[in-house]
């Protein structure tokens, strides 16, 4: 055998948050509960138990460089049943956060940067956004039973602040109306902000705590300014 097994101190372990102080990540007994429950086990070598084991063995670099941490959908099924109460998802997020930003797969990190700059992950200018949603709103109003429908934008004192998934605004605007139909039928008092309407927090996905916090902060600011107490955050 060529390589000796050697345990190294793991930065991931130190940084990954605990569910509570009595449930350490070390307590993992490799029982397989997480692996058995994870919908992705076996896909491209993914296995949550294996990731935890690698963390415990101090194989940080390997993990950070691999694409394993990026396969997780963060559904949380693993953690739900973990008898040892290990924070598997937070651990995986911690690993993602330790990846160099230029190595973050796909357009995620680029999206974060755009979002920080423009308030949404696709860098859509405000007037384009307003045009799109008003246009879709008018289309809805033309449908039978939705007379007088109008998209409320930045409406002060509304009951619900509604954020949007950039995909709906960008390419699949016909799907926007599903929510609106419900609001209309329920006579709900709601509104969409024209700034910082992004409903997908890629900072959360990529382990970028700063970006995540900032995105969340912007939504909170919107709510403060419009005097709204309820948030609807459909991803």
């Amino acid at each position: 055998m060529e390589t000796l097994t050697k345990r190294k101190p793991s930065l991931i372990k130190q940084q990954a948050p605990l569910r509570d102080s009595t449930h350490l990540m070390d307590m993992c007994m490799a029982c397989g509960t997480c692996s058995a429950g994870c919908p992705l086990t076996g896909v491209d070598g993914f296995d949550p138990r294996k990731i935890i084991r690698m963390v415990l063995m101090g194989r940080d670099e390997e993990l950070i460089e691999s694409k394993l941490p990026w396969l997780c959908t963060m559904c949380g099924k693993c953690e739900h049943a973990c008898p040892m109460g290990i924070n598997i998802i937070s651990t995986i997020r911690t690993i993602r956060g330790m990846v160099d930003r230029d190595k973050v797969p796909g357009m995620i990190h680029k999206g974060i940067e755009l979002c920080l700059e423009t308030g949404n992950n696709i860098g859509l200018p405000e007037e384009d956004f307003v045009f799109i949603i008003e246009d879709v709103g008018e289309e809805l109003a033309a449908m039978p039973g939705f007379a007088d429908f109008k998209v409320p934008i930045d409406k002060k004192g509304a009951n619900i602040l509604h954020t949007l998934h950039n995909k709906l605004v960008n390419t699949q605007n016909e799907d926007l109306v599903h929510w609106w139909k419900i609001f209309y039928a329920a006579k709900e008092d709601w509104t969409v902000p024209k700034q910082n309407w992004e409903g997908v927090n890629w900072g959360l996905f990529s382990g970028d705590d700063e970006a995540m916090k900032l995105s969340v902060g912007r939504i909170v600011d919107n709510m403060d300014q419009l005097g709204i107490t309820n948030l609807m955050y459909p991803e």
């Binding site: 097994t5 345990r7 007994m29 397989g32 058995a36 138990r49 084991r53 690698m54 049943a81």
Partner: protein, 980 residues
């Protein structure tokens, strides 16, 4: 019971029954309470047990002085002169000090007066309320008035007052006016209680508390206790193994281990110890019932087969019966498209995900983490069994319960409370006279009048030859009716009684009472179930049936005699062989009860493996035992000594001791405890090719040296099961896993930077010791499982010691350069050939002493008067050895605490005048109870050992040996009468 109780036992399950019997057999008066309306606890719901798939519950009953108890299957209930059973009763408060406690309890109203209920079931027939059958895990229905346990005798009903609608239908039909729906709970106060045994069990985890198993949503997900009911003939499906949803036999069954155990997230950082074996057993039964092609899969993390014979049981299940074992804790159970089927996903040995579909899933549940001890549990004078805090198998519960009995007996004797000498009621002079039968026809409050009169039973009875008097009573359930019978028996000529009434079992307590008052032994009384016969409409010749039955019993009664009873005086000295923790505990248990103890130790010093023990707590425990024993005036030590001969029978043995210098001594004793112990197994020489490779014991010793510097010990590998759990030593040594964990943690304490790897097959941290496993992982110790056929290899390369193994979690090889490799070599018994042949006891294939029954009589041997405990019997931890020692001491005390032991009425006896001395009876006796007295030239029966099974009498061609109460002439006459 004629005197008030001086001991309370709370909980009438295995532990409670064992403890109550222990103390009752010592002569104490015991009150056995249970809050359930039936006794037996979970026992009543289990038919067969691992590791032999047999029952054997009756083997818990007293084996001598058997006349004090009823000899019936324990499922029917427990009946002993010194035990009063109180059901539906819960203790609420305890006051006072040991020796003089006051206990308050509440007896719930059951709606039925147990003194009047004759178990006729009329009420059940008319009850309109149906509720889920709790006895059968709610898989069937029962009425609101019901029999709590179907075998229970007397079969008196209770009312589920929560379900009862008070419609009163039952009240109307009850022939004995036993039902009163308006009854309220009753507060009972017990005074002058010497001590209390708390044996209330741990309760069972309810998987409905967890959302992942679908229990309660998917009908084919059942708990293991429900599965026991499904297997049982007395269960919801009459013993057909079918699944609840569609009543079809399942073809694929999954067992899910650790449901509610080994899960700190729900407060269950413990192992429930017995579930692994239970699942194997259930899988084997499933195969037996449904055919070997039934797929049975056990999902587990560690198969905890830590009992002496358990590993072979598992191996057999796996290899011969094809039970599949999958090492994966499953995530959840989901419904499958097909109706009732269940989808279970898991990862296989190589980490590959598998989606499997099962017809049925069994959740192996254990201890209930939510169960709390009652507030009074810590009150002085209350001693709790281990089974209150840990879930354990029957054998361990029995040992623990007897250990508790010993502590309680010790507490009582130090408080000066001694069992009352029981005055046996003198036999009436009439009994010796020629047979004269009193027949009592009970009309059951008039309901049997018609049968009695129409058939002119009195006239018919007169035809039976022999002296017969006949009386008719309105109801012998009433005090008035019974008094009438007493009167006639006391003043009339009759010396035998035959009741024509209802269920004999209901009647038995009354017979006992009658016997006590009249001096006519209960063996001279019998009952014919007139009611039962009458109700059986299938009969076309009712009179014939009734007369047959009456004449059968009459004939038996006519020919009964008082068995000539041998009384054996008891030599009140105990011989204890071995002075480790087990032997010392046994010796001290006996000495505490004023029994002289001769303690024989082969070695120069006492204490067994004391010199090799490093655990501070255990050292202190054994050290204390050694000091106590050395100072005890009743204990005589013989070190450097062996027992070379032992002869005699229980109560009267003669042993010969030989000192190393050749000097011999004779010891007269009444019972012997074998505690010859064992020790570490040696490692094969070729495993120790480098001085970095050492035994676990040596590493432990090294780390416990004063001033040890562990700074240079940076990487350590522990390897478990070296030589254990595979042939020829195919048993778990039970101590190694815990020892490795403790040693590893000690190392972490000395050198926190030390990397520690433990290669293991199954971590055997059963019970509360699971916490050590959890702690060890929390300290960063890495555990790598391996299978027997894929052992890690140790290589030495230019002075480096490398351990090459495979990590199935990472699915890749591991290679560790170690500063120390600690090999867990396990335990072996000390050689027992001499002791086994000296005491005529059997040994196991691994050289342990074979106990009489691993579940029900774990510290008895096959020979009465010879007991075994500790490592001589099987691998144990030191604390377990102490428990076993106490239990063995207590078992010996049953004999030694008496001055004499009379033969039971129901024992074998020999008619020497016609005995041909062929000794066939000796050959067939299962209890070694018969022997030839060489001086008298006669076959003798040891009344202590004889159980009255009658095999000797059947083997004897000419009736030279007979069984008291079952004499051949009586049986022959009964047969003749039966055939009319």
């Amino acid at each position: 019971m004629n005197q008030p109780a001086n001991i309370l036992v709370i909980g009438a399950g295995i532990s409670g029954i064992r403890s109550a019997l222990d103390l009752a057999e010592l002569g104490y008066k015991v009150c056995l309470l249970d809050r359930a309306p039936a006794m037996g606890g979970i026992l009543t719901r289990l038919d067969r047990q691992f590791p032999n798939n047999h029952c054997g519950i009756c083997r818990m009953l007293p084996m001598f002085d058997r006349d004090n108890s009823e000899e019936f299957c324990l499922r029917k209930g427990l009946s002993h002169e010194n035990i009063e059973v109180l059901l539906s009763t819960e203790v609420i408060a305890v006051e006072g000090n040991p020796g003089n406690m006051t206990v308050t309890a509440v007896k719930q109203a059951t709606g039925v007066d147990a003194d009047r209920c004759i178990g006729c079931q009329e009420c059940e027939k008319v009850c309109p309320v149906e509720v889920p059958d709790t006895f059968n895990a709610e898989l069937g229905k029962r009425k609101a008035i019901y029999l709590a346990v179907p075998y229970q005798m007397p079969n008196q009903r209770v009312i589920d007052l929560q379900a009862c609608t008070r419609c009163g239908e039952c009240v109307k039909v009850c022939p004995t006016a036993a039902i009163d729906l308006e009854r309220t709970p009753e507060t009972l106060t017990f005074e002058n209680i010497g001590g209390v045994v708390l044996a209330s069990g741990t309760g069972l985890f309810n998987p409905q508390d967890m959302d992942i198993y679908g229990m309660g949503h998917f009908p084919n997900v059942v708990t293991s206790s429900a599965f026991e009911r499904i297997l049982s003939s007395s269960g919801p499906y009459q013993g057909s193994l079918i699944r609840p949803s569609d009543q079809h036999p399942p073809k694929k069954i999954a067992w899910i281990q650790c449901v509610g155990s080994r899960n700190p997230m729900i407060g269950a950082d413990y192992c429930s110890s017995a579930c692994c074996m239970i699942s194997i057993k259930q899988a084997l039964f499933a195969k037996e019932r449904l055919g070997s092609d039934t797929q049975t899969t056990i999902f587990y993390m560690d198969m905890r087969t830590f009992g002496r014979d358990y590993q072979r049981y598992r191996d057999q299940a796996e290899k011969e019966n094809n039970v599949a074992f999958v090492r994966c804790r499953i995530h959840s159970i989901e419904p499958n498209e097909e109706e009732g089927n269940l989808k279970i996903s898991y990862v296989d040995h190589s980490g590959k995900p598998v989606n499997a579909v099962f017809d049925m899933a069994v959740l192996a549940t254990g201890k209930d983490p939510l169960r709390k001890l009652p507030d009074f549990a810590a009150h002085p004078g209350i001693i709790a069994t281990d089974a209150v805090s840990e879930w354990m198998d029957i054998g361990s519960s029995v040992v623990s319960a007897s250990g508790v009995s010993e502590r309680l007996a010790r507490m009582l004797s130090s408080a000066g409370i001694k069992p009352e000498k029981q005055a046996t009621a003198p036999l009436s002079d009439k009994v010796a006279g020629s047979p004269h039968l009193q027949v009592v026809l009970c009309s059951c409050n008039g309901s049997l009048d018609k049968v009695i009169e129409e058939n002119q039973l009195a006239a018919e009875l007169k035809k039976i030859p022999g002296r017969i008097d006949i009386m008719q009573a309105k109801s012998v359930c009433d005090a008035e009716g019974l008094d009438q019978v007493k009167e006639i028996l006391l003043n009339g000529p009759a010396n035998r009684v035959l009741f024509a009434a209802c269920n004999a079992q209901v009647f038995r307590p009354k017979l006992k009472q009658l016997a006590a008052v009249t001096g006519i032994p209960k063996e001279f009384m019998d009952v014919v179930n007139l009611r039962g016969l009458t109700e059986n409409a299938a009969s076309h010749d009712l009179l014939g049936e009734i007369m047959n039955q009456l004449e059968m019993r009459a004939n038996r009664l006519f020919r009964k005699k008082i068995t000539p009873a041998d009384v054996r005086p008891i030599q009140k000295t105990a011989l204890v062989i071995g002075s480790g923790p087990a032997g010392l505990s046994a010796a001290l248990a006996l000495a505490a009860q004023n029994i002289k103890v001769v303690l024989v130790e082969k070695k120069e010093t006492i204490g067994g493996n004391f010199a090799n023990i490093h655990d501070a707590q255990i050292r202190e425990m054994i050290g204390q035992l050694m000091d106590e024993a050395k100072d005890h005036p009743l204990i005589t030590m013989h070190t450097d000594t062996e027992v070379i001969n032992n002869a005699g029978v229980a109560g009267q043995f003669v042993a010969r001791l030989r000192h190393a210098n050749g000097a011999e001594t004779t010891v007269l004793h009444g019972a012997a405890v074998i505690a010859t112990g064992g020790g570490k197994a040696d490692l094969p020489a070729d495993t120790l090719a480098d001085n970095k490779i050492i035994s676990l014991y040596d590493l432990e010793a090294e780390l416990n040296q004063p001033g040890i510097d562990a700074a240079n010990i940076n990487t350590v590998v522990f390897m478990q099961c070296i030589g254990s759990r595979e042939e020829p030593r195919n048993y778990c040594s039970r101590i190694c896993c815990l020892k490795s964990l403790k040693t590893a943690m000690k190392l972490k304490e000395l050198n926190p930077n030390c990397d520690i790897y433990v290669f293991y097959r199954d971590m055997m941290t059963y019970g509360e010791s699971e916490k050590f496993y959890t702690q060890a992982r929390a300290k960063g110790i890495i555990f790598i499982p391996f299978e027997k056929q894929e052992k890690p290899a140790i290589k030495i390369e230019s002075g480096r010691v490398l351990v090459e193994g495979y990590d199935p979690v990472l699915n890749e090889p591991v290679c560790i350069e170690a500063d120390r490799v600690a090999l867990a070599s396990g335990l072996i018994p000390n050689p027992v050939d001499l002791v086994a042949s000296t005491f005529h006891v059997e040994t196991t294939q691994d050289g342990f002493i074979q106990e009489a029954d691993s579940k029900w009589r774990p510290v008895d041997t096959g020979r009465e008067g010879i007991f075994v405990c500790g490592l001589a019997r099987g691998p144990v931890r030191a604390d377990e050895a102490v428990q076993e020692g106490k239990a063995a001491g207590l078992r010996a005390l049953r004999i030694l605490a008496r001055d004499t032991i009379p033969a039971s009425q129901h024992s074998a006896y020999v008619r020497h005048a016609i005995c041909s001395l062929c000794e066939r009876c000796i050959a067939v006796c299962p209890f070694d109870a018969r022997y030839v007295d060489p001086d008298l030239g006669r076959i003798m029966v040891d009344p202590v050992a004889c159980q009255g099974c009658g095999v000797c009498a059947a083997e004897c061609p000419n009736g030279a040996t007979l069984i008291g109460d079952f004499e051949e002439y009586g049986v022959m006459d009964e047969i003749e009468a039966a055939l009319g």
